[in-house]
């Protein structure tokens, strides 16, 4: 009997490995191998198209570390990550909290609010480029209608530039505005799922205790939602850290290279046939990503 069980057991184990085989083959060839191969490419002066590679040691890494453009790209990525985290937490949670109070309307609202996630970043970027358009853009239309610039000048402030995406002082803001428009609905859905996982009796008892909404949220809801909040933050950070398409379409990293983010910085060098240099940038990205993951896991564990 025992012998028989061991025999079927090992057969079943082989079966599991067979089930895993296609996944492992594809994953290693088209995912892990390139990641590992990329690590060494950063050590070469290499165009990416010719066969010629010059070993230059850590030159690329050093050049990147002291490049002000890279610092600028890092700074922008950092700003986008922080702003997205805050806005999408506050707005996403607030909308979820509101939606919970209206049984029917709330559910319809969440379905509508989630629509932006089915739009490609390219579509979103193009549409928003037109909203920011200096001649017929919706945003300028709203500003004109409300006489915003007039009011700003009246209190001694400068006007809002006609083209938000092209003006150095507002280009990054235009990226932030669009990115958050795109993301808020998703986080509203995530937080509302979290709110729904809290038992109804808790909501009832809060009602009886006569707490105000802010007191309820701060004292009862947030402590219970710690896991959801932490994970939602992980998602925002991961998404913001690799932001590429929106910046590429909205500002192209411009004006000049003012609104470059890390991935756009990397892509520029790949596209201009400096694949070695781009690989070194990728290595930095990988390291920063890993550090984020470690921080996140620490964070998640202490939250529990």
């Amino acid at each position: 009997m025992v012998k028989l069980r061991i025999k079927t057991g090992s057969k079943r184990i082989i079966a599991r490995y067979l089930l895993l085989l296609p996944t492992l083959l594809l994953y290693f060839l088209f995912f892990m191998y390139p990641v590992i191969n990329g690590l060494s490419l950063g050590l070469y002066k290499y165009s990416g198209v010719s066969q010629v590679k010059y070993f230059i040691g850590l030159r690329n890494y050093a050049d990147i570390a002291i490049d002000p453009q890279f610092h600028n790209a890092l700074k922008n990525t950092f700003i986008i990550t922080v702003v997205n985290s805050i806005v999408q937490f506050v707005a996403g949670f607030s909308l979820a909290w509101l939606a919970r109070k209206y049984v029917r309307v709330g559910s319809i609202f969440l379905s509508v609010a989630l629509i932006p996630i089915v739009l490609s970043f390219v579509s979103v970027g193009l549409m928003w480029t037109w909203f920011y358009n200096s001649s017929f853009g919706l945003l300028n239309g709203i500003f004109d209608f409300l006489h915003v610039n007039n009011a700003l000048n009246f209190v001694g402030l400068p006007s809002i530039p006609r083209s938000l995406t092209a003006n150095p002082s507002t280009a990054l803001f235009s990226v932030l505005l669009t990115a958050n428009w795109h993301g808020i609905g998703l986080y509203a859905v995530i937080y509302s799922a979290g709110l729904r996982s809290i038992s109804p009796s808790i909501y009832d008892s809060m009602k009886v205790d006569g707490l105000s909404d802010l007191q309820k949220i701060r004292r009862v809801i947030f402590p219970m939602l710690k896991d959801t909040i932490a994970l939602a933050l992980v998602l925002v950070i991961a998404a913001s850290f690799k932001i590429f398409e929106l910046v590429y379409v909205l500002t192209g990293g411009g004006p000049g290279r003012l609104t470059d983010v890390i991935s756009l910085y990397l892509y520029r060098y790949y596209a201009s046939f400096q694949a070695g240099y781009a690989s070194a940038v990728a290595f930095y990205m990988l390291i920063i990503g890993l550090v984020l993951v470690v921080i996140q896991f620490k964070f998640l564990r202490t939250e529990k």
Partner: protein, 285 residues
Amino acid sequence: MSLEYSPWNWFRDRFTRVVGLLVLILWSITAVYPLLWATFTSLKTREELFANTWGLPSNPQWSNYVYAWGTGNMGAAFVNSIIVTSLSIVLLFVISPMAAYALARAEYRGKGTILYILLAGMYIAPQVSIVPLAILLQSLGLMDSAIGLVMVYVASGLPYSIFISRLGFLSIPSSLEDAAKVDGLSTFQTYRKVALPLALPSVFIAMILEAIFIWNDFLYPLVFITSPDKNTLPLGLFRFQGSYLIQYGPLAAGIMISTVPLLILYILFSERIKKGIAAGIGVKT
């Protein structure tokens, strides 16, 4: 226990309810307005767009769609996107639940390591590997081809779809699997006849979310596709924008062409998609 009930409280409750509702409505409008605007714009001439930017088109220009589909190359891009997305999803649908099942309940040597290595892929930004991937595809002759894109999408989609599908397999009561074992079903039979059908809702959610991602992805085609007739939709849209004096009507039509299929998918499955997003988050802890 009882709450004081005064006209003031009544008024305050009413007021906050109305304001809350207004906020929800306002955000709903903000969320869909760009899409509505693109719909209107796709039916306007250039002149009308400048004269009547916000309103309904007075004389719908369906020719914008014809132009986008033909001259704008969006038709080819549409077909290419269908090919790439469906091939990737079929492959993912076949292999990722298999792996997810193998990595769900059974304990055996190497399982933990394999699981970690696979899930680590979720944390590696795609930008990290575009350069070596381009070199790999070049050496395999898969650059500028649908198959190359499909391979990359499947490989990079595996971690997420395995993660979500695995949640489905983990939610099956283990007694069912034991029963199948007692009945003498092999592992493959148990997988195909017992486990997969029960985990299908989760697998399905993973496939919907992957399909949305693949359909909309821009980075991989940007790097791996060079011929204009091999564009997928987002890349086609981007190149369409760059290649002419910006033709707003036809471009907006291109946006609609690339969005409508996903919009239909979303309308059909929005409850499942919402649930999927919630499940992915809720259980990941």
